[in-house]
Symmetry: D3
Subunit: 263 residues, 6 copies
């Protein structure tokens, strides 16, 4: 169920198991990938999970089986997908045109209060579905704060899709294999194929500039000339399809755990 | 130029005259219209204005004429459309399921810092394109604060599309003639036609509960049972087309004034 | 009952129906009118309303009649007039000497906490009696926030006197007909009669610089050389008397509605 | 020069040496003295100092003598008296009806920003003229912060009138000898003479409940039943006249030091 | 009981009467005394009081006598000494190298939240044991706020050791007799004896630059060249021993009052 | 150079290459280890690094050799060790007695302003030496913010000692092998040897409760009964010595990189 497209009466009548809040960023992703990559991928994963959840649910209802592995075994309703947060914590890319950002303080408040408004309606199991590394710390803090608040029953966790794709997780980069693959699968028109090569050549192999476990670089232009980290050419559409499948499956697992958990 | 779909290199190479930041809300719009109405309509107006601007610009470049009335006469570049803000100041609808909101403080900070990040890249002429009445005061405050800040050259104003549609402005309501018309034109599948009648019957004729110029009602459920104000049936797709045309034309006029103004 | 002049024991013994908090501004009002105009007029309206309330109340008590139109029909006690807030949201006049202001954030906090301290004593029906256009948005926000706070029973609304004077409301201006009239009635010594003519000649006809419903001017010196908007000469003392009468009557109506309303 | 009564053109033309900002409180002062005592006395002291300053100034101009002891010796202009702050830090009196307060955070911001708006106009020598003990710490903090701010030339200090009355300072109390005396001199109608005796009898001899230099009582009702500390009967109008004389003379000395000091 | 050295299981099993939170500052103390003087002395006083408390307690338990003057008469447990706050409100010493400080806002929040975490565990009687004059106002504010908070049972007061040493209090200074004496007793190695003379000669006799009860100097370098106020040579180790004895005794008295008081 | 023990004159005369700010936490570390573990270990690592730095420096000065591996090759001065921050972000341990914490907002402000006061004196290269996992995110945010601030030249990074001990890093736990080892080396008296066994038996093997890369547990008592994670018995004093050696060496490397880096 997509919140933006539903009416309030439909939300009231719906059986919402949990809400997914896609959180992205509008920031440089190299010369070949769009600034909106993080919101697009986060939303794609959330939508795919909601669809998977609904299907599993129907099946579970149909045959009453598969209680161990089916998503729907313990849940009867829908995952509600809230509209995405498009601007996040991305000041590290400020050297690259078009990058938008807010301070971590403002970002935390914005996400937290949005979640609290969901909880106001009794939708108090929430997964923050994140598509940007720079948001990670802030979202984890929001999830903790919301969940510890004795004034509400809300329980939230933060999920970052590219950390939940098994062995591929290690190849993340920035505008690299994983994001390019996902885009080629969900928004192929937005990938500038003619610049893939230059994207790779002008990028760097690793995020950051490290010494003894400490990243000395606070901004991305300190270690990548064109904003790219990793080789986007490796990110095929087929890989993208696999990533979406894996990430949405993982998200359903997380959502189920969130629904079933005693806060 | 749609910021989310552009790459940072394209933004750097572009000739951006001004940025449009669509600001919506995710809030009840009656039983017939989607919760995302305000962001959808704000974004539609911004996109239409950007298209109109580009066309006028091209024409002006082609023949060098029409300096008095064409949009492009004084401008040579593009309007950049930033991704929409989906959650705004909407606590007044909290009685209706699915309505999301943040506090005015957080909303102001979020919009202001987003605008400041645009200005960081030299995109310092900004029109906040608003689709929700409840955001009005907060956006006006943000525009003033950003523009008065001596630390930047940013100049911003707030534009609310349904106040710039001539004689129709007086019929705004909520989920009423104007919004329903606009939706029927830009997102017809999202209007629940079968509930238009009940939407009208369960709504009210006027926003608020007034005495001597003071609205006694702080929340919308104090004066409308189903969230509707005004008659959605009056909002035809043809009217929607006219509204979009008028609002985008007005927005271009405002953008031009913003570009040309000494701050 | 004037709070500043009462003792705490008298407040405890009083039967307070509601409190009026006059909110002004210390800001330029042209070369002919004092910087304190907004606080003076707001306080004058509040005092006149309190007097009117007391009289009506007494009459109602005396004869038990007039339940339809008399102020006192539904109320038995007093309106408490708190001391005025002298500094408000007035940065738009910063180009003119002597204008004082605080940020909207600080202003909202100051007014809200003052109101909350009234509510602490059980005086939880409050009308913010405003004399300055620039305070409007902020006071409306405060009234909503205070009223929605589940931790208290407070209910507040914002009333702006020059919006409650019937057909005269449209002539407001700044240091123009309405304010000059009110001053000539309540503080005639403070009107510099010898500068009325130059005030008019050096002023402007309209507040702001508008295009398509958007005010491009964030500061008043962008459209008025001497700070005046409208013709002060039209503001006779007789008009002032009428304005005070109308505004205080309207304020009593609002106060009565506030007292009688289920929050 | 009283800021509220002046026009902006007069302020521009004036030769302002420094500004005085009276800061009071609206809080219980026993059964015999008004809630507005602190603002009234602070404003009276500020007005008396401004008058004394103006007189001294004129004399100094007339004869060119008395450079050592006359106020006007080093100054040529006026003291500007800003409108009073009526609500301060007074939660300690919350047990007594009608007492108003804001949090120290909000109070500091409100006073600081008011002072900064004065400084914006070049009026950057400011004395905060305080009439309430509970404001002391907060005002000292504001004065320090304003003065240390490298973004402005402002220099401010906090002056509390009852600490500048020589040997009388030790008899302050609350609603006691000093305040009652001052009121009997500047606002005799507001002293309830018939309750002076009960005020004394129901009060206490000392502010606070002390052990080893620590006041255990955070609220005044912990040590005084009717809010009074000290014997108001001792506060004659003659004493009030002396206090006003001493305090205003001291304030002129402080203002002169502030004007002459390299920040 | 020293919190840092205890395990959580020991705290759970302990009978904690009250907690002492030493609050210092890292700031210049002249050429002869260390920057950490304030934290060292505050912690020494707190430790001495905890030891005295424990001893008195034991004795009281042993003989069941002395209920009037022994510390242990009304208490059965321990004083818990929390780890010291090393950085306080000390911007006034910013001209001297190595001085650390935070804003008063941040300091108040840091101390308050630390106290609230103690109260979370039911340790809700707290004495803030202060060693720095600049912290005084902020700590008093924190103690009031914590104690007034209806959401907890916490009761806190602020104690400044050098105000609780009887007739010696008047000789405080800065890096002067009292602090030098205390250091010579508790940390003699840290006193640079060879610079005592120059410390005295380059210092000043009095803190601040006063006129009519107002300190014109916001920073200490305005009145002392080397940061010293008072004569450190007068501060013998013997005096230090006496000061520690007096201050810790006073602190026990305060702690007992705090434990026994109805909040 | 230990800041707390130095005088301001010594700091002024010193040649400070960079400052180390130890940041700990006061929180449960199982039944066998003290609440102050994190501050103790962070301070121990900082002190060891400062000593190592000084030694290397001297040697380098002596023979002018070893430019490749000696710490002192590029630096000539001292590492200044600031006093430790004892209370951090530790609400996750609130279920265990004696744990202290402040909110992340307050912690960030406190650390940031402390760092800014160092930078005020020109000590603008700072390493935050962290001993607590819960502080990590907040310190990284502070380091970024301080370093990006155009108003100062400060450059800061966050270093967490147990992440810089090579292959041992993976065994961290909580009150487990690494912390117990370090304590046995630097503060053996504070380890309750008699409870090591029960500490291990009542603890858990892993921090958190994970599903698909998401930790469902926001508080530590959700997955460990006695607060311990990992086996403390494995943490020998010999291992502690090695850890201190490795961590201080790594810290010197980081400090050197910070000193040499163009910000």
């Amino acid at each position: 169920m997509k919140l933006s497209e539903a009416t309030w009466t439909e939300v009231r009548e719906a059986d919402v198991d949990a809400a997914l809040l896609p959180v992205g960023s509008t920031e440089q992703h190299g010369p070949h990938a769009p600034l909106g990559t993080d919101a697009m991928t986060a939303e794609a994963v959330a939508q795919a999970a909601a669809k998977r959840w609904a299907t599993a649910d129907t099946e579970a209802t149909d045959d009453g089986e598969g209680t161990d592995d089916a998503v729907g075994s313990a849940v009867a309703g829908d995952l509600l997908v809230a509209p995405p947060v498009h601007v996040g914590v991305a000041e590290e890319h400020r050297a690259f045109d078009g990058t938008l950002w807010v301070s971590p303080d403002t970002f935390r408040a914005y996400v937290r209060e949005t979640v609290e408004s969901l909880a106001h309606h009794g939708i108090d199991r929430i997964v923050l579905v994140n598509g940007h590394g720079g948001n990670l710390e802030a979202l984890a803090e929001v999830a903790r704060r919301v969940s510890r608040d004795d004034a509400s029953d809300a329980y939230a966790v933060a999920f970052t899709w590219f950390e939940a794709v098994g062995e591929h997780a290690g190849r993340m980069g920035h505008g690299g294999p994983l994001e390019t693959a996902m885009l080629r699968h969900v928004a192929p028109d937005l990938v500038r194929e003619e610049r893939i090569e230059s994207a790779r050549d002008g990028g760097s192999a690793r995020w950051g500039e490290w010494i003894r476990g400490v990243n000395l670089a606070h901004d991305s232009d300190e270690f990548t000339d064109n904003g790219v980290v990793g080789d986007p050419a490796e990110g095929t559409a087929a890989l993208g399809e696999e990533l979406l499948d894996r990430a949405s499956e993982a998200l359903c697992d997380v959502a189920r755990a969130v629904v079933e958990r005693d806060r």
